[in-house]
Symmetry: C2
């Protein structure tokens, strides 16, 4: 979904001397970390206090890539971000927060969601390694981002990107294309949630996840689920019971095997792909 090529991870560990742009990069984090520890259900009420509080500063983790004096692509910029760690359940940002940065997921997974006044939650998307999130139209986040497992993200202050995009149409176009791919994925998901049955939704989700991580798992038929049943349910517009039951049913039908509840192995991919398209039940 918010997916730029995930191919750049290898560059993430090189070290380089500090440069002018680092200064800007670093102070982004101070405002960043302030409102990041929201937990549980009441984060919407929170308004962050940029001045006070525990800015537990993570001494900059390994620096991205060798320096280039004139970064040219969105990737270049993103690879210069400061790295930040997020625990499972910890929020990277919450709906209503002032938006200061955009992020690229380095490892782990994030859950992007919105909640209704009465507490019902819709997971908009999951963000996996390589995905970019935080690109938005307004100055305030319209959804929340929470780690589903321990996760590392690279943070880039929006201001830097704004400036870059304002001067370089190529950057602006990359932002545009990233957004466009996002919309595309959202449309597909909307079709899924709006039209498909529980089984279809779950199977599409599993297959989609597998496809999305194909580069990582080397094309095996095994997929790790780096999120809870609740996350999956809220993503698919179902209840956890239905998710659990449907997984059990698929297991009983010998379409999948489940290990530890989190590792799914596709046994009968043909059957799964038929199920995803509504054939049989």
């Amino acid at each position: 979904m918010a997916e730029l090529s995930a191919a750049h991870n290898s560059l993430q560990t090189a070290t380089r001397p500090a440069k002018a742009c680092d200064v800007a990069l670093i102070d982004c984090s101070s405002s960043e970390f302030t409102h990041s520890n929201l937990q549980g259900t009441d984060m919407l009420a929170m308004t962050q206090e940029p001045s006070a509080s525990r800015v537990r500063f993570q001494p900059a983790l390994p620096k991205p890539r060798a320096k280039s004096p004139d970064p040219r692509s969105l990737e270049d910029y993103l690879s210069r971000g400061t790295v930040r760690g997020i625990e499972a359940k910890e929020h990277l940002f919450a709906e209503g927060d002032a938006k200061s940065s955009i992020y690229r997921v380095l490892s782990g997974a994030l859950c992007l969601y919105k909640i209704l006044p009465d507490g019902r939650r819709q997971v908009i998307d999951f963000a996996y390694a390589g995905d970019v999130i935080g690109l938005e139209s307004g100055i305030v986040a319209t959804y929340s981002a929470q780690g589903t497992v321990a996760t590392r993200v690279s943070c880039l202050p929006s201001a830097i990107l704004d400036r870059a995009a304002a001067n370089d149409p190529r950057i602006a176009m990359q932002l545009y294309m990233t957004m466009a791919r996002n919309v595309d994925a959202m449309r597909d998901h909307l079709v899924c949630v709006g039209q498909r049955s529980a089984t279809e939704r779950l199977v599409s989700f599993l297959l989609g996840l597998s496809r999305r991580r194909a580069s990582l798992n080397g094309g095996t038929s095994i997929v790790e689920l780096p999120m809870t049943r609740t996350d999956i349910a809220d993503f698919l517009g179902l209840t956890i019971e239905t998710v659990s039951r449907t997984l059990s049913k698929l297991k009983a039908q010998r379409c999948i095997e489940i290990d530890q509840g989190t590792t799914i192995r596709f046994v009968d991919i043909v059957a799964l792909e038929a199920l995803a398209e509504g054939e049989a039940r």
Copy 2:
């Protein structure tokens, strides 16, 4: 899909210089709007209301302007497009078509949808006067656009816009912001379809439509539905029977009045807003 593409014939925009008559015909652009809402260099940090989730281009009021030889804003480009009429049920483009143009709706309404292999249909969005559609990441349309009523659109060849965006970061950023607002609206709709009950969905739809057209109907409590029950049902992930029944129920509860089946008058807005948020039933 093939059958749909047939609709495509009439006057697909040929690339040609903008002429005076074009401007006269279509001119619903307003430079005010353009500069206040879409331009500026710090796009990412733009101070524009987040409730803009549903806001697209405001249906700009006709405003005579001299044609400028060097158009600068997205609005300028769009106002130079060639006009095309679409009948109800006629397709502007269909999923799978090569994308040649982007469009702005001048009057009427379009229904943007995707269909599953087995025929189930999900309406992604409706496009009303002022809305821009056809901005996409790939070279092939990933959804179909069909008139729900007789509709006029202004067509602008993508190539022109591509060139403009490649040279002018402001244009690229406007494309980006347009897309971003789109994503925002889609997220809201996903929450609606994924979490809300039939009544909640329908009421949110009505209120949202009213809000979106507030500039046109002058803030009255009357909304025209320029689409069929089928369109609404496919938009909300319901059946036509449920849509019809729910409307009847709202009428029986004296929340709305219905005239000719297509004109809705809000009688008890307070109750409606409560219903939209899941209170009572």
